[in-house]
Amino acid sequence: MYSEGQSTPFGMIMGEQFAGKWNVPTMFEKLCNAVDYDSRCRDVEEFNAKHKYKKRGINILPTKFGIAFTAKYMNQGGALVHLYTDGTVLVSHGGTEMGQGLHTKVCQIVAQAFEIPLGDVYVNDTSSDKVANTIPTAASSSTDMYGKLYSVLGVVNVDFKCINLMIAMVYRNGGS
């Protein structure tokens, strides 16, 4: 795992001014403590020793994923917003919705900006007659480009201390 100040093979340093605050080591420790990793490892070893045909495996994994296109010209995006006299909003943007929820996120961002319910925001199918000359919807960067930039570096006046660390119990059944 990278520690603060270390560089990636492509020359990005983990740290505040270069790649944003580096939180993974803290998060890793936090998750280890939250799930009580060491004692669970012992439980698994014990289980595997006792059971011949049922075996358990356990793992904890840190992750980081870089956001941007390496081709500079691809880091751009457009959107078209209409406000109607009935107080509803129609938004079109250059990103493709393919089940990943991009339209939903863009609508939420628009609803927040106008301080209106999400139901009052409509989204149009992506088309070059609304937003022309688009780039591929890829590199996990579409919310940043079409909706709103959430990165700590991209937004001014963000309080670095208020970055939310959230634990989500996503899946659990029949655990010991």
């Binding site: 560089s7 993974v24 358990r56 994994l61 992750t63 941007a68 880091n75 107080g87 709103k148």
Partner: protein, 114 residues
């Protein structure tokens, strides 16, 4: 940022109208008033990521005056704007005879507001 840029443009145009109306005026009231004031209620938003925060060329040769203490390959550009960060924990169980398998527990820790 493109949609937000467009919203901000419209909201800016609505501001003088909003000021003339009561605090409780809804967006519908404001939009209606703005329409009769002949204010453009449409906007095209655009966003381009800061020049210094993207663009990477693997084939770029190391410049002669490149400082020794700078990281290797950093002369090729800035590959990413930032990193998404997270951790995941999983516990699984398999039956070695039947191949039956199940996830007993997964915990995901994600850093961010997005």
């Amino acid at each position: 940022m493109a949609a937000l840029d467009a919203c901000t443009q419209i909201l800016k145009r609505l501001e003088p109208v909003r000021k003339k109306m009561s605090e409780s005026a809804s967006l519908k009231d404001i939009a209606e008033a703005a329409f009769f004031d002949r204010i453009d209620l449409s906007a095209h938003g655009f966003f381009a990521l800061d020049n210094s925060r993207c663009g990477y060329d693997w084939n770029l040769e190391k410049p002669e005056n490149f400082p020794d203490n700078a990281p290797q390959n950093s002369w090729k550009g800035h590959a990413f704007n930032y990193f998404t960060q997270g951790c995941a924990y999983t516990e699984v169980e398999i039956d070695v005879l039947t191949g039956n398998h199940k996830t007993l527990r997964s915990d995901v820790l994600v850093d961010g507001k997005s």
